[in-house]
Amino acid sequence: MNLVWIVFGAALAVAVPAIATAWAQSRIGSAIAASMAEKPELSTTAILMIAIPETMVILGFVVALVILLRAGGPG
């Protein structure tokens, strides 16, 4: 396959989840900041809630790696 498309696919695999994660974190961040103002004991929940959507981009990163590796890229 054309190298450009492979690289584009890998970039897309990271970029789309990254945008989704950013959007999710912005919503969660504002909600949790408001909650913590009233209940500071929610700090643990805040950490978890902020970190949970990042799984998407991590998995996207792994998929991108798999795409690049199959095309003979890094590793």
Binding site: L48, E54, L59, V62, G75
Partner: protein, 626 residues
Amino acid sequence: MAKIRVMGPRDRLPEVLDVIQDAGVLHLAAPAADSAVTSVVPADRENRERRNIRRLLDDVEWDLGHLGPGPGGHAVVPETAAAEPVEWARTAARLRRRLERMDAQLAHLDEERSLILKYRSFFDAFRSLLEAEPRWPHTTAYHVLLRSGDQDALPRLRQALGHVLDGAFEMYDRPLESGETAVLVIVPADHAANLERLFAESRVEEIPVPAAYGGGTLANAIPEMLARLKLIPRERDALGREREGLARAHRAELERARAWLNDRRAHLDALALSGVTSHAFVIEGWLPADGRAAFEKRIHTACGREVVVSEESREEWTSEDAPVVLSNPRLFRPFEAVLRLMPLPKYGTLDPTPFVAVFFPAFFGLMVGDVGYGLILGLLALLVRTRTRPGTLLRSVAEIAGACALFAVIAGVLFGELFGDLGSRWLGLKPVLFRREEAILPFLILAISLGAVHILLGLILGVVSSRAHPRQALGRGLSAAMLIGVIVALLAVLEVLPRGLLTPTVIGLLVAFPLLILAEGITAPIELLSALGNILSYARVMALGVASVMLAVVANQMVGAMGSVAVGVTFALLFHLVNFAIALFSPTIHALRLHYVEFFGKFYSAGGVRYAPFGRWVAGAGRRAA
């Protein structure tokens, strides 16, 4: 934990409570409902005392808070021999009134100072005009400040003035250092009312000359204001000295009062948790099983054999009632702070602190993986440790950071990294395992393998913690076995393991599948899949690790890329600093998440009640266990 019952003659209840409070090990619980034993109903006198204590404590805490920090920080307050609540109440109330007056004086001085500064900047801007103000016949001058950031305010004001006053005005404006704009408007005296109405409607901030400085014109008032400005710091200092004097005179007494009042309040609370019959009292509570003999000895020594201490058998109480205290070896104890962010585990379930103590720094180390960053973090941890008191959260954080730093250095040696590739370029540092920036796939395999180990460990701990519920334990055991089966099958497909293993493993999985549904219900396959997803989630260790080393390498490349070496080195240092800051924050959050979500989700049962023994109060630590 051991559940203890203390019994004795009813009239000796207050004395026995005092001894128990001194011992500081018994977590009190209300006696079980029994027809013969009733709760102590507080008398009117005790209710009144409780109200007085609450009011007095409020005054004392307020006074101590407003006297500023003491010389020794949170020193242990010596116990009082004799209580003088009436005298304390008088002192605290008098002191509070005095401190409130001083606070009001300070606030007034600050307000006055900022007002004078505002006038001074205004006067400086229009000095020549304002000095001529007394000589203007039949005119009134208005001083206005326009806030910074509103570019259109000035033209709008000029337009509005033109409209209202029909051109009969003079307006001058000067930008001030604060970003505000000073505006001087001079209008004929008979137009003044129109202008004042305009200011009020458009909410323009006008600053009239205060009567306190002679009134009249600003030029007349300014010399008085400037003289006053010189006096304000002296008055502030005098108030500060007075506060210090009050602190010297009363702090020790107030701290003693606070300790006594807190103790007395706890005593009254304990009284309400005691049970009585017509002739006897019963106190029930929990203490660590190994402290039982010492507690009994203490009670007998102080109260004699008339007071009986007995232990309830294990059959008489349930795990849900027992309080929880985490007890770990010294090496693991700082990591209890990680668990403090979560609800406590239930009594009788597993305390995961030792596992956190191993895996948390290991994951952190793999993500940071740099000798240089590790050493800097180690130094910072050492610095914080030397400046904090034992038992505080900050001390625990410093010790956790120390362990993380050690693992970061070890990982740095394994990956051959010292400030990125600087170690290999300058010192010829060779990796023991592999270079993270080159060997991404091996690093990914390492991260996911660690994840598999961590999740399997979680499932095994789940089996152990649910041993009292065989069906649940069987389900978790089957999940663990099937997870191993899926991993073996995948490795066999990829020919990492012999391909011959594939068929027996798949058969095993097919046999285990219905058993898993029988044991855990229809949601079991979903949980198994989520466990596989959890393992993949450990890829973040690799992702953050690679990002960290790449940023460090980019930082090093800046030295040669900026033309000037000095500029390059500055940028490289700044970039390393940013990378180090990220390396402190991001790996911590992700290592925490891997524990809270992926690992604890497999076995952790939250919902324990914290062990809070009835003891003497100590400053900075709440209640003290002896």
